[in-house]
Symmetry: C2
Subunit: 339 residues, 2 copies
Amino acid sequence: MAGKRGKEQPGEDALIERIKTILGPPGPPVRVGIGDDAAALCESADDSETLVTTDLLVEGVHFNLEWASPYQVGWKAIAASVSDIAAMGGKPTAAVVSVGARPRAREYFIKSLYEGIAAACERYGVVIAGGDTVRSDRAIVNIAMLGRARKNRAILRKGAAPGDIILVTDTCGDSAAGLQILSLFPKSEITIPFMKRLINRHLAPEPSLAAGLAASASLAPTAMMDLSDGLAVDLPRLTARSGVGAVILEEKIPTSPDLRAWARRSDVPFATFAVRGGEDFNLLITASASKVDDLERNLESAGTRATRIGEIVPRERGITLVSSSGEILPWPEASFLHF
Amino acid sequence: MAGKRGKEQPGEDALIERIKTILGPPGPPVRVGIGDDAAALCESADDSETLVTTDLLVEGVHFNLEWASPYQVGWKAIAASVSDIAAMGGKPTAAVVSVGARPRAREYFIKSLYEGIAAACERYGVVIAGGDTVRSDRAIVNIAMLGRARKNRAILRKGAAPGDIILVTDTCGDSAAGLQILSLFPKSEITIPFMKRLINRHLAPEPSLAAGLAASASLAPTAMMDLSDGLAVDLPRLTARSGVGAVILEEKIPTSPDLRAWARRSDVPFATFAVRGGEDFNLLITASASKVDDLERNLESAGTRATRIGEIVPRERGITLVSSSGEILPWPEASFLHF
């Protein structure tokens, strides 16, 4: 995910800052560089700009071939990159794929992986332009994806202002619940439908492409990003970039019946999945109070429900979580991450 | 290297064909897809097109941290990608970088790597637009690079026709000799200047960017590619794409005094390095006999010497090598590669 965040580790954000220092401020054609879901480049004379994002997935860190088929790894890799482009309000166009595979497993791995890639590309309108395949003792997949947005109109993480409403699309926490289920049971023994659906949300996620385009078309968002590392990690990234604070009402965070069913069975409150779980690939959006109705209408027309979960406040107030019992809590740490 | 060749393994080219079957023919915006140095995308209304290439480097396969500093790995990764864009006759613009690093070595590795990346980007006019950093038990670097070429004018591997002259820029085999020296001696014991220069050609190669642009400006090339896997592997890729054969005169292949000095010391004839050695990142160009003078003049103005090494012949004649003693030999197999 270009221009990016540090995934999976709190110290990653500090590392990104050091990399920015080494590289210095980016010049043309880069308009938006490191630190957003995707980078934005102004290269052509027409009214569009190029978006670009890169995403590296390593076996044993980002995917587990005992749980996920290479097909699913391919699907998810494309989905995660589409999500980055969608989070800028853009439309993905083309991608290049780098694959590392063990020499022995190579034939099957690459065939199945590319079938998943092809299926996701077909679904989201992406064309594979090229790639690189190399030997590696761990499976590796890197997707670099290009997209288009209206010139100077890609929606960034900065731009949120006090008084803005904070919304999320769809529901939160399903993917993390699916991951937990996979870690607890042999895959073949998971037969209960809601558990299978949660696993599927983890292994074959759907990026919020239509929602991102609808949000962009509404002209309402002041900031937007995708929830790939979970609200606990991603919201502070948006507020840091925008120079603001936030209040989130825990009971407003939308969760699915499947997640609530799993939470009843497990020892983990569903709010924990919803706040700390990653890889839902839904959108976190801020909009001024006067435009939030427009935003919701546009999202609804695109088949996406958005939920108001809180409000942007001045930076001094930091980020707080109002618990379901009305208690004001400090923002939770990202203890759920798998780095 | 997008749209790409298989690196490092003869079976790779067959694999690429299978991937192309799974993906089907690419639609717009991809004009040139899998199978060239970079892909070409027509996205804008102006007279340029976007080039894109991706290149995955894995520790222990593509680089060795006992030999190369992370700085050198960063430099070479950018250089290899610049070379792919140059081989299309394009100009690199921006890149995104994915890095995998061991948690312990992370701070130093990423700092030094990015310093090398920054130095190479400064040299070749590339802006880093974004990246991704993840945990990995082996160091991994993926560069996806964007470039620009004149619309419909990127120089492809296809296009060579019988009667065309085959040229290479600079010299061949230095990088492979440097690699052999590194494999034979502890780095600290390598003090002889010509050996140090050969090592440097391997660890800190310079892509032929000015040459690629000059070749493109001459309008002379019928086909062009960079020699990243060596003449033995890369020439058959060009001839296969163009549907032609070739005759190469071994004694015409340009080699450096350093390589010849090393060949005298080692058991390997210098022609072996020149034909089979990879990673020189010079250019293989074909041009019609009527335009080859123009090409050479343009290259010379850009400070690059080109050498005529053979001729394109009809496909039926295959690829042959005329040895220095005048013997007609079958084209050598790629036994020197390190997959």
